[in-house]
Symmetry: C2
Subunit: 224 residues, 2 copies
């Protein structure tokens, strides 16, 4: 019931028809599956079935389940990281120094856009939240590899915008921020259940604004 069989008629072996990129079909389906069931909870078999592809093809392209997972993460992770840098560059190019809200929004916008971009983008966001809950060494390495650089740059810029707040405090609050938005992006659809349907009518776009306001206030809060 859960797994939709996307392709019933089997493909014939041989050279692929121009444009049919099975490698990407696999990555897309893996993204959806990993987001829903996690790494250990996802079966390579299922990904293959969803992609309408033989199991062995996954091995052919990616080597192992773990490598497939890593590839799923890297593919979009580097996009996000890049977009964050671009957003920050754009902000710093303006004549006035950026406000805290602007910096935060610059950081969140890429994730937000990805989430809005369709089912796969949304799945990837959920996958990140999962990854952040995994204490395994491998997950940690992967997270660092993909995200650390941009976080550090944002901490620097925030420090400049909030000179009265010690840098360690900013670092910590930045960590809080990451937790908040990841959770929020992940849980947004289910937020209604948690709160008795009280926020069902708030538009998606307004929600980002609300989040930014919340985080900006927290980040700029006076120290003791």
């Amino acid at each position: 019931m859960s797994q939709t069989n996307h392709r019933t008629v089997p493909r014939k072996p041989g050279r692929p028809k121009e444009g049919e990129d099975l490698r990407y079909v696999i990555l897309d389906e893996a993204e959806l599956a990993f987001a829903e069931h996690g790494f250990a909870g996802t079966r390579v078999r299922d990904i293959a079935m969803l992609a309408g592809v033989n199991q062995a093809l996954i091995r052919y392209y990616f080597g192992s389940k773990q490598e497939l997972f890593d590839e799923v993460l890297r593919r979009r992770g580097s996009d996000i990281s890049g977009a964050r840098h671009v957003q920050l560059d754009r902000l710093l190019a303006l004549p006035d120094p950026p406000s805290v809200s602007q910096i935060i929004r610059a950081y969140l916008q890429p994730q937000w856009d990805m989430k809005q971009s369709g089912p796969n983008g949304a799945a990837f966001v959920r996958l990140q939240a999962r990854l952040h809950a995994e204490p395994e060494a491998h997950a940690l390495r992967l997270r660092s590899e993909v995200y650390d650089a941009s976080v550090k740059r944002y901490i620097q810029v925030l420090s400049d915008a909030l000179p009265e707040i010690p840098r360690e405090t900013i670092s910590m609050r930045m960590a809080f921020l990451v937790g908040t938005y990841l959770f929020m992006l992940n849980d947004l659809g289910r937020l209604n259940d948690l709160t008795d349907g009280q926020i069902g009518d708030i538009a998606q776009d307004e929600m980002l604004g609300q989040l930014v306001r919340f985080l900006a206030a927290g980040l700029a809060a006076p120290v003791s």
Copy 2:
């Protein structure tokens, strides 16, 4: 290397020696294992081995892996929920109406205490973070079952303390709050890596204060 064999000499069958509560030993080890590897990533075998117990005994006590998992969650979940109610009652019994910071602290304190209480408490906190990242229907139900009631009560009290902020906004911000603290409690140990070791010297206790300040500012932020 990862799995420590807690008991090498096998137990003999029969009635247990007074005081040796294998049921709890199993729950404790399951808690640690699930927190580290997640539900799907944990093998019943390993739990049995860590608890120094035969696999079949787990089945005997809990029926299935899933039921064991649920039991691990319920055991402490109800403690947390209860403690939150107690904290709130205590606060409301004071002559003055509670401040936002006080309310937040009341909400966080039980989790914080649990985390400090030892390896198993800390593991449980991590486990909750994991659960919040799982979109599966079963995980959702479990979360609702264990936590929803207390959250709703806190939303009410916060609404009273912040009459100028609409209730839907409070609800949403409460959801942000949950995300922030879960992530923080989960990631605290690794926070240093993320921020280049800049917050290594902050005492654990001070960290809770910092978190409360951050969240209180966010919750009380003026609306648009």
